[in-house]
């Protein structure tokens, strides 16, 4: 292969058709309330880890729901599980449970 001095950018698009939604469906089956997220961002705003890093819980779980698993486990590992997000979620989502569930499903334990 020739090195032309650049590489073909990988598309940023979330391709639902190509993504394997198996795990995301499993996650939603175990915790249907995650679908009730209205993207208000309270969780991320209050997040202890999010105030120290770029960790964005809302974004990561939304991407996981769309079948974008790349890096989600590593991102979720930034969470300290302190539970503030659960206290502020206006939709009463069990956010700590979500973190653990996503890690379990994507980390295979």
């Amino acid at each position: 292969m020739i090195n032309f001095g650049y590489s073909i950018n990988k598309p940023r698009v979330i391709d639902i058709d190509r993504n394997n939604l198996h795990k995301s469906n499993e996650i939603l089956r175990e915790m249907p309330e995650l679908q009730a997220c209205i993207g208000c961002g309270s969780c991320t705003a209050t997040c202890t880890a999010g105030n120290l890093t770029s960790f964005n819980f809302r974004k990561v779980h939304t991407l996981v729901r769309r079948g974008e698993y790349q890096g989600a486990y590593e991102e979720m590992n930034k969470c300290m599980l302190c539970g503030k997000c659960r206290l502020v979620c206006p939709r009463g989502i069990n956010t700590r449970g979500v973190v653990m569930l996503i890690k379990r499903k994507l980390g295979d334990f």
């Binding site: 979330i14 391709d15 639902i16 058709d17 939603l28 997220c37 974008e68 939709r91």
Partner: protein, 346 residues
């Protein structure tokens, strides 16, 4: 006996006519279509209670037929009006003591948003088409197959300057949620995606319904407006949007795309403005005398508004306005009689 002409035999007009008749007034309802009921005739079920539209309409029709002094003239269009006179499209002139304009709205023509492919690709339908399908009981793709993935697009012809529809049509959000749930009910194995810009759940029970759609029905809500629709090689539709909550473009193949079309002001409203001295808002809907205390009155004494002629409204709101307008008419006529009499006395 006083005579009031109600223009438009939709739900607001029907409710208004019934209230007027109860108040001892002779009413003539002018209806463009072959039957009363307006847009509700083609609707299947109403949010958020899923009450069949026919139930509401049946009740209204029953009342209308039962009450005396109501004359419903179908296939009859008004061309010009003043507080004392309505000229029909045929040229016929009707005398009256007051007029209620309950002409409602026009459904947005989804073909104008050609990037969504309505009228171009198979299986791109509007929310109104879907209600028809519900009514006929034949919900399927054009090929007759059960859709495996369905997308709803909110705000088609609403909040869109590109099609001169700056206003919010108010009811499409909850209609989208309702129809998504109905589709999920019909096709439990299907994935349903709702693409929205905002979800505005303004009414009682709407937010609860939304939550139910999300959590119980597992309907995916994606915040982002679809930018374009294209056909795929296997005869499906490919949709592109941005998942704005993740900041990433998103594409997805669907078997059916439902466009939640908004409410457009009637073209006739311009005529009302030009020929009848009535005021219009920038949205094209008629302007009530004021938003709060005289919401069902026009700027011309003796001409009243009821229902979606002044702004997009839900069924319940339109019905309420029908009643409110009738009340206003009755008061207006009583007051007028008073002054007329005192003039005679003098």
């Amino acid at each position: 006996m006083k005579h009031v002409i109600v223009i438009g035999g939709g739900i607001a007009g029907m409710q208004c006519a019934a209230e007027l008749a109860r108040g001892g007034i002779r009413v003539t309802v002018l209806e463009k279509q072959s039957d009363t009921g307006g847009k509700l005739r083609n609707w299947h079920k109403l949010f958020p209670s899923l009450t069949p539209a026919g139930e509401v309409l049946g009740g209204l029709n029953h009342t209308l037929r039962r009450l005396p002094n109501i004359d419903v003239r179908t296939e009859c269009e008004a061309a010009e009006l003043s507080p004392r006179r309505v000229v029909l499209a045929t040229g016929e002139e009707l005398e009256c003591d007051a007029v209620v304009v309950a002409t409602g709205f026009t459904l947005f023509d989804a073909r104008i948003k050609e990037e969504y492919g309505y009228g171009i690709y198979d299986n791109v339908i509007t929310s109104a088409d879907l209600e028809e399908m519900f009514n006929t009981g034949k919900v399927s793709t054009t090929s007759g197959a059960a859709p495996r993935r369905i997308a709803f697009l909110h705000c088609v012809g609403s909040r869109d300057e590109k099609v001169c529809q700056r206003h919010c049509s108010k009811v499409c959000c909850v209609t989208g949620v309702k129809q998504a749930m109905e589709m999920k009910e019909l096709f439990p194995a299907a994935d349903v995606f709702n693409f929205y810009m905002d979800i505005r759940m303004f009414g009682p029970g709407y937010e609860e319904m939304y939550r139910e759609a999300q959590q119980r029905c597992n309907i995916h809500f994606v915040r982002g407006r679809i930018s374009e629709v294209s056909p795929t090689i296997d005869g499906r539709l490919q949709i592109k949007a941005e998942d704005t909550l993740t900041g990433r473009p998103l594409k997805i193949g669907v078997d059916m795309l439902v466009l939640l079309i908004g409410m457009r002001a009637n073209d006739m409203n311009a005529v009302l403005e030009q020929r009848c001295g009535l005021e219009r808002q920038t949205s094209g809907f008629m302007r009530p005398r004021d938003q709060f205390l005289h919401n069902t009155e026009s700027n011309v004494a003796g001409i009243f508004y009821a229902g979606a002629v002044t702004a997009p409204k839900s069924v319940g709101e339109s019905l309420n306005e029908g009643t409110a307008a009738a009340r206003g008419v009755i008061e207006y006529l009583a007051a007028k009689e008073c002054t007329d009499n005192s003039t005679i006395d003098e």
